[in-house]
Symmetry: C2
Subunit: 288 residues, 2 copies
């Protein structure tokens, strides 16, 4: 038996929303058959199946959970709403620990109704991270702040660039709060290469220790659909230089899972096995 560095394909992880048509058992079975070693999970289907049962199912299939989506929604001003959000994030951290993943992806939240105060909303995110970080650390889970595309700034996430995410994350130790590099959200930004270096601690001004907690792939295609949520492209179908991103995160020291997360009803309408086979082919061609 020879020892070898894990190949890029060994690091491929399939986010379950890419094949939403699959149940959790179908996901576990489908990935195991395709030789895909990791899955990214979402809270709702995991809760529906049962957290402990889902953890066992994934483990028994020989798979690893690369990340759990999602915590966050930290921007409410009303104290009761805010306390409820923090409680829900503690539950999400418990679930992440039970599933054996070290990464909880955070969608930070948009502007509260009627508010125009982006800076205030961003400060409330920092406050929430401060409250949750010790709880997360006790469970061995890192809070992974995800910058979302600026088109989501009003209603989903006021953290729109990798620079903003790092400005928030760097207030905390690197092993407690990290960031998500998702090509769909960040591809347009001419500063993203430098910020990936900063996230890795390899650029100037970076804090010690890598902040890159997750690396997610989807392509950018147009026209965007109404609501702009379900229009992500299969790898290679769009405008994103995926290989460039992979090389940048590797140059920044990242060697973790490479998760494919595509929200697209056209993929959900097809046979899941076929979709996963296409993901693997596209991954080899456009990322590897």
């Amino acid at each position: 038996m020879s020892h070898r560095t894990p190949s890029l394909l060994d690091r491929l992880s399939l986010n379950q929303e890419t094949v939403r048509q699959w149940s959790l058992p179908e996901l576990a079975d489908g990935c195991a058959r395709a030789g895909v070693r990791g899955v990214g999970l979402w809270r709702a289907p995991v809760q529906q199946y049962g957290v402990a049962a889902a953890a066992r199912l994934i483990r028994d299939a020989g798979l690893r959970v690369s990340s759990l989506c999602r915590g966050g929604f930290f921007t409410a001003r009303e104290p009761g709403e805010r306390a409820a959000a923090l409680d829900d994030n503690r539950a999400a951290l418990d679930e992440a620990a039970a599933l054996g993943t070290d990464t909880l992806v955070l969608v930070s939240g948009g502007l509260p109704p009627g508010s125009r105060d982006l800076a205030g909303a961003r400060e409330r995110i920092a406050d929430a991270l401060g409250e949750l970080a010790p709880y997360a650390a006790e469970r061995g889970v890192r809070l992974a702040l995800e910058p979302l595309h600026p088109m989501y700034a009003a209603d989903r996430c006021v953290v729109s660039t990798l620079a903003q995410a790092l400005d928030l994350a760097e207030r905390f130790p690197a092993d407690r709060v990290g960031v998500v590099v998702d090509t769909y959200h960040l591809w347009w930004d001419d500063t993203v290469g430098a910020q990936i270096g900063r996230a890795g601690g390899t650029g100037t001004g970076g804090a010690a220790g890598s902040r890159i907690a997750a690396f997610q792939l989807a392509d950018w295609i147009t026209p965007l659909p109404e609501g702009v949520l379900l229009g992500r492209g299969q790898l290679g179908d769009g405008s994103v230089n995926l290989r460039w991103f992979r090389e940048r995160v590797e140059a920044a020291g990242y060697r973790g899972p490479v998760e494919v997360e595509i929200f697209n009803p056209a993929l959900w309408a097809r046979d899941g096995t076929e979709v996963l086979a296409e993901v693997v082919r596209r991954f080899r061609t456009h990322v590897g």
Copy 2:
């Protein structure tokens, strides 16, 4: 008769796409009746009416043309396509001069089909500006580079932030190449305040002379419609702190027209006079 500084309301300009239901004569008459002193025009309706006739119509109504939309589309790689785009921009500059405006708004162009090279596309924009700047200067028209929201980066404009627009503009003299500050495109960016200062030459690192060639207002509302082009909000209906933007551009020395440019079929379905009256009311409340 007393001398006074023009009030903010005197600087209000109505971009004609806000009231697309109006013909050019209706626009001229409607603005004059409402006491609005300026209009922003688009090439297609002006060409259809006749450039000289449109210039006369607007002048005779006592109005000033704040800007002409739009030149640009500089990112083609194919030489014939590129030459055609430059020719069309020269025609747009001639039209701007004939209309008596000193501002041609530029939508720079997206990625060519199949391309993923954002940096290359941005360089071709710089090349085109270099070719057009002398022609523009001879006609007394400034090229006004407009950063568009990052959701348009693939198909409309690879210049997505005010910082990127200034990086390009600052390669040329300030009186030849400026930038457009449009709240709809820039509101989400936490660096925009500093970049407005840079554009005004009032921040550190700014070149001498203001780069702010135009200031345009629209609000950000959700959900975004399919294609994300016609979903702009009436002033005050959305997430943008319009007054903050107005104060920032004034602090940067800008005293030019304040143009309201809202693309929204709900406004087009209403009586134009009523829409303009609403714009004026909202402008007083949310901008003044």
